[in-house]
């Protein structure tokens, strides 16, 4: 019974573990770059969930073949493409902000920045 849950749905356990790690990184770490890395891990774990949920057992890549076949569900792949673009843009904005903060305050440590401002 328990093995059923763990071995059949291992993708959920993996994505939740990654999400927790990313969340801890965003909140528990003081360095801004580590926060950004945590944010990236957090977002990518959710993409893993979508794509793993799209898998059809025994399915092949969703490109039309001549003979009828079982395909993997292609819609989440397209959704995650969009979401990856969004994640990359957010990371770019975050990195630019971190660079400007470093130029203004001279440090990347969140506590010291709050003291200085």
């Amino acid at each position: 019974m328990i093995q059923d849950i763990i071995f059949a749905k291992y993708n959920y356990i993996i994505y939740i573990t990654l999400m927790t790690i990313g969340f801890y990184g965003m909140i528990g770490k003081r360095n801004l770059i580590k926060k950004l890395i945590g944010m990236s891990i957090f977002q990518y774990s959710i993409f893993l969930f979508y794509i793993s949920a799209a898998d059809v057992s025994g399915g092949t890549a969703p490109i039309l073949l001549k003979e009828p076949a079982v395909y993997v569900n292609p819609l989440p792949h397209v959704l995650i493409l969009t979401a990856i673009v969004v994640a990359v843009s957010t990371l770019a904005v975050g990195l630019s902000l971190a660079i400007r903060i470093h130029r203004e305050f001279g440090t990347l440590d969140e506590d010291k920045i709050i003291e200085l401002s």
């Binding site: 490109i63 493409l81 990856i84 673009v85 770019a92 990195l95 630019s96 660079i99």
Partner: protein
């Protein structure tokens, strides 16, 4: 400020002069074959930008700025999105909905026009993504000079 990261490393320069054309060619391949294999507009844009970034890393910023000045980068970005929204509005002018490729007079049948419409849109997306990635690289690595 920081000196330009021009390198005298012979391995990097030789490697880059061989690989950059191939990377750019592969980027175009990924762009066009997006329908049949992994690929498409966004991925191709990132690969093309990676080619230019490798060129900058090997030969210095001055060389790349001769080809891709900031003005040209902005123009490329605008052109890419213009193609995308232009195809959409063109579809409206020809009587269909926004981005309904079937009504464009590009092929012999609605399915063929759909194929060409999608490829044009992918080209637009690839141009925009490449320009934006290169401009992000300029800003982050060189303080926007």
């Amino acid at each position: 400020m920081k000196p330009e990261p021009e390198t005298n490393d012979i391995i990097l320069r030789t490697g880059a002069s061989i690989m950059v054309p191939l990377i750019l060619l592969w980027g175009l391949y990924v762009l066009i074959h997006g329908a049949l294999g992994p690929g498409g507009g966004f991925q191709a844009g990132v690969i093309l930008a990676a080619g230019f970034i490798l060129y900058t890393a090997a030969f210095g910023l001055g060389e790349t700025k001769k080809i891709l000045t900031m003005k040209r980068v902005l123009l490329l970005a605008s052109t890419g999105l213009l193609i995308y929204a232009g195809v959409g509005v063109l579809a409206i002018i020809f009587g269909g909905s926004f981005l309904e490729y079937g009504v464009l007079p590009l092929g012999h049948s609605p399915a063929e026009s759909s194929k060409y419409g999608i490829e044009m849109v992918e080209v637009g997306i690839g141009l925009t993504v490449m320009a934006i990635m290169v401009s992000i690289f300029y800003d982050i690595a060189f303080n926007g000079e």
